[in-house]
Subunit: 142 residues, 4 copies
């Protein structure tokens, strides 16, 4: 598929007492993939906070946990943007576990994440930069 | 209201570079309140894992972030269970910021969390213990 | 003893795949106790960051892990300040597991944490406020 | 140098309200590098927990924070093992910030971490596997 994907390894820090990844920590993986999706387009959030002075903030999130990740697993996190008004975007994201050479990856997590663009100083909603509105309204994603 | 509530203080560990609570960390507050709701009914998860040998696992979660919590805020996390079949429960949860004496608390987060009961050894779905099915099918919650 | 102590409960978020508290997460408990030690003296870090414009930052830390904490444990974290120059303080801290009514608490962790006072804007070292230098040079701590 | 090194990127999840990496989170980077050092020798901790049935646990740690990492920084974490008896090892570890092409990396963190080998079932001290004692008593580390 054309969705952007980013790998992550599961470390001790990510696991909980059930010997699986703690449910809140999948949100970290999802954000890493969104950050890298942005970086792959040439933009770092630290630079965007200075110029044009914007931050991205999660405003809502739906997540389904289908199977658990375990220590040492290699995960692949995908990131597919969708249009969502002038000041926010929606990302459809999935996390698969790498099953090794040739084997089909297993779907672990599906999520839909709405992210708003805000002014870094006032924290009020702000229009998305052009490179993002063009991105999410179609075109080549990866 | 009759919903169970539990307090949390915001520490440095909970904040991110935007000087607000990191979005994934609200899931930790939500789980603390579910854990304490259970404890208020006389049950610890460590004991339940041994006898009758059950664990609870989050299977899906919807969360809306309405306003941000900041360092040193006192939060109140509510926890209202609802019936959801024989092997899972849904919790409607809200996080409010304490505004001090007399002032109305501000709603920060709303969430709906579906939690399944699983066998601690096999990790397969298991029927909820009676004290939980009775709980979520009405009756006095707090 | 006269040291300040603060309680913490162990939740799922704190545990790792070994079913014990993840080693880095004890540092969170230690910081919560230092924050509450300060608050017990009438000072919140958010207020101090505005006036007189200071932050505290950990500059070094030694920690010994003697025994592990587990899910649902109640911990007591102590905090004993010591003089350490004009712009930094050292805190001797211990974490005990509450063993229930009458039983002696078990020592889990011992740590020595050096914290520097810095200017919130420039991030350069700054003289400790008077209420802290007086505190750490003797007198009643709790 | 001959020390093993492993990269890490700083994400929002790692930062705190001071817009720098939260002090406890450097311990996560240190552990990732130890895990990858082990993996580079052909061993995953999940496999070792099954056969020969061992876990590694941090028993003490000294850390000096020299400079702060920020969002989007690329870090390099080194890992140099030293002999430390039959059932534990010491790792000398450093974290540098990548300064880009040609520029010298900046030292951010220095740490000394003592790790014990324990029986995965009984949690009692256990002799290190041969491949680790040989490793830490000299020879080619990377």
């Amino acid at each position: 598929m054309s969705a952007f994907t980013w790998p992550a390894r599961v470390y001790w820090e990510d696991t909980d007492g059930g010997a699986i990844v703690y449910h809140a920590d999948y949100l970290r993986y999802l954000e890493r993939a969104r950050t890298e999706w942005l970086r792959a387009r040439g933009h770092s959030q630290r630079a965007l906070a200075r110029d044009p002075g914007i931050l991205f903030t999660v405003v809502s999130l739906n997540i389904d946990y289908r199977a658990a990740a375990r220590l040492d697993d290699t995960l692949w996190i995908s990131c597919q943007p969708e249009a969502e008004g002038m000041a926010s975007m929606r990302f459809i994201q999935r996390i698969h576990r790498d099953a090794g050479a040739g084997a089909p990856a297993r779907l672990l997590v599906e999520a839909s994440v709405r992210v708003a663009c805000i002014d870094a100083r006032t924290r009020r909603p702000k229009r998305l930069p052009d490179f993002l509105t063009e991105e999410s309204q179609g075109g080549d994603v990866s």
